[in-house]
């Protein structure tokens, strides 16, 4: 009985701690501008207001930033998922020399501090005329997403029986045809999870976005959020509104796909 009480108490406590920052930023975003910096603190807005949201959109091109983030994260996330699908398939289905080296090279990308590559990356994109463009940022994001989603998708492939695509290939499908007509439909939830993971990573990425995107027409959300802390007096009201709008889409996506993301991560990490 005591164990049960301890369990319920512990879980409730952690739930409150986990949800509190979200609750607090939402409440802050709906407070009227004057009431944010006032004692006693209000745990519920005394006057409910959209003022911070209207100010956010009036003082910045936040609508454009959301649109830019959406385009870059959707296209780069989908491209990376497609490319990772191919390499994950090969890693799961074939034994070949250098396989360990490839996996090692993918793991190594996780250890590269973003800042060491930033300057050269900027110069490279400048040569291509792609600095401050969505395609430029998108290309870098595709490369950023490939290693992790490859490992994740490989786990899903390894749970699929070989017989599936073998049967299709005996029936005259090419390997690529077998992959896309037979395996992909069966693996759809796992692929969706990998895509969502990539989308969220692109949506959240900070330093590349700050350095590579500088015009209001092309900036993505993180570059804009960074603007908030660059000033001496942080405008916490509009900042909270921006935070809520930034977190909402990714939160919903993650909640929807949580089961598959978990499966993909654990399938990928338990092996090897």
């Amino acid at each position: 009985m005591t164990a049960r009480v301890a369990r319920v108490t512990g879980l409730s406590l952690w739930l409150v701690i986990t949800l509190f920052p979200l609750y607090w930023v939402v409440v802050t975003s709906f407070k009227s501008p004057g009431s944010i910096n006032r004692w006693p603190l209000e745990y519920w807005p005394s006057e409910f207001s959209f003022g911070n949201y209207t100010e956010l959109f009036a003082t910045s091109a936040f609508g454009t930033f959301i649109g830019n983030s959406l385009v870059v994260a959707l296209v780069a996330g989908a491209t990376a998922t497609l490319i990772a699908l191919l390499s994950a398939y090969v890693l799961a289905r074939f034994e070949f020399r250098g396989k360990g080296a490839v996996l090692g090279a993918f793991l190594l990308t996780q250890m590269i501090p973003a800042f060491i590559a930033l300057g050269p990356l900027y110069a490279m994109l400048a040569d291509l005329g792609l600095v401050d463009t969505k395609p430029g940022l998108g290309l870098v994001y595709v490369a950023m997403c490939i290693p992790f989603s490859t490992v994740m998708l490989r786990g899903f492939f390894e749970n699929m029986p070989d017989a599936l695509e073998e049967a299709a290939m005996i029936d005259g499908c090419s390997r690529l045809g077998a992959l896309f007509r037979v395996l992909v439909p069966v693996m759809a939830p796992g692929i969706a999870a990998a895509f969502i993971f990539n989308f969220v990573n692109c949506w959240n990425e900070l330093f590349l976005s700050v350095v590579l995107m500088n015009s209001d027409a092309n900036k993505t959300i993180p570059a804009a959020l960074n603007g908030f802390i660059s000033t001496f007096n942080i405008a916490w009201g509009p900042m909270s509104a921006a935070a809520v709008l930034t977190v909402l889409p990714t939160m919903v996506l993650f909640a929807l796909a949580s089961r598959w993301i978990v499966e993909g991560l654990t399938a990928g990490s338990v092996k090897e």
Binding site: L11, W14, L15, T18, L19, P21, L22, W24, I36, W39, L41, I83, L86, S87, Y89, V90, F94, E95, F96, R97, G98, A101, V102, A105, F106, T109, Q110, M111, I112, P113, F115, I116, A117, P120, M124, L139, V142, A143, I146, V200, N204, E205, L206, P222, L225, I229, W236, M239, S240, A243, T246, V247, M251, L253, F254, S258, V262, T266, S269, V270
Partner: protein
């Protein structure tokens, strides 16, 4: 990255129960073709810029004078090691990584254990505690910076209501408290990852064994450490490794909360690197970055070797 080094057309040695195909030229081409896009992207946009950045580490490379970027050998590394800030930053980094990982592991483990047995709202609970993962480190830093605000922060208010403190504390401006605040934010951020990974691993622990042990009189703690932990050991170790790499390498939370301040008391190795970059000292920043990679690589190698040795025992 040697997909070109494909096994020649002879049968690979059979490995375990999994059936592997024999190889021909056709398969080699398939492997290469399927791999090509991934290799092109990762080499072009990750490894190539990284290598270029790495060679800057051996040059006097300053943004303010690009007309001369002479080779200086290991000079940049010497400059960094001699910098009086270096020992402080190294110590901070250690505190940051260990202070973040240990509570994350402990709390994550406890949450996973509590969620282990099915109950009615378990799915909902999991979905609710899942969301920190969808938030960027930078935004987590911003949320906590607001909550730890000295004047109007909710943390001070709650602590005063609870009677733990008498007056508001300047969390992010106080040299002693700032590190506590950034670690609290990071622990909050990382527990979900541990909980979810450990919970998934717990599903592999056979219940019969646990029941048998209970019948034989093994207590809860005994069962935990003699049965559960050995079963999920690999997942635990790999999760800690992955998380340690990310924590070591992710400056976002600190960047958003204190940017290394006050007076460098929360500077970790990667925020220090940001500072050099912002000053235009790319040579020094690259030297730090390269050192980070080498340290992480060596750490990983030793860690994985130690893991393998324990697994063989």
């Amino acid at each position: 990255m040697s997909a070109t080094a494909v096994r020649p057309p002879r049968a690979p040695a059979p490995r375990g129960p999994v059936r592997r195909r024999t190889f021909g030229r056709r398969q080699a081409l398939t492997i290469l073709g399927f791999f090509a896009p991934a290799i092109v992207f990762v080499c072009w946009f990750t490894y190539w810029p990284m290598l270029q950045g790495a060679q800057m580490a051996f040059r006097d490379w300053n943004l303010w004078d690009l007309t001369s970027t002479p080779w200086v050998g290991l000079g940049n590394f010497a400059t960094i090691l001699a910098d009086p800030v270096f020992p402080v930053v190294a110590g901070n980094t250690l505190v940051w990584v260990v202070g973040s990982i240990v509570p994350q592991l402990v709390i994550g483990f406890l949450v996973a254990l509590a969620l282990w047995r099915r109950f009615r709202f378990r799915g909902l609970y999991q979905a609710l505690i899942f969301y920190p993962w969808a938030v960027s480190g930078f935004l987590v830093g911003m949320l906590f910076r607001w909550m730890f605000n000295a004047e109007f922060g909710v943390v001070n208010d709650l602590l005063m209501k609870a009677g733990a403190i008498d007056a508001p504390l300047p969390w992010l401006a106080d040299p002693k408290l700032a590190m506590v605040a950034v670690i609290v934010a990071n622990v909050w951020y990382g527990v979900t990852f541990f909980a979810i990974m450990i919970l998934a691993a717990l599903q592999s622990v056979p219940e019969e064994v646990l029941e048998a042990a209970a019948i034989d009189g093994a207590g809860t703690v005994r069962r935990l450490f003699s049965i559960v932990v050995p079963y999920i050991w690999t997942t635990l170790a790999l999760t800690v490794l992955l998380r340690a790499i990310w924590t070591f390498n992710s400056p976002e939370i600190i960047y958003a909360m204190t940017n290394g301040g006050p007076a460098g008391r929360t500077h970790i190795i990667t925020t220090w690197m940001i500072e050099y970059t912002q000053q235009g000292s790319y040579g020094l920043a690259s030297a730090i970055g390269l050192a980070v990679m080498v340290v992480l690589f060596v750490f990983c190698a030793f860690y994985l070797m130690a893991m393998r040795r324990v697994n063989q025992r």
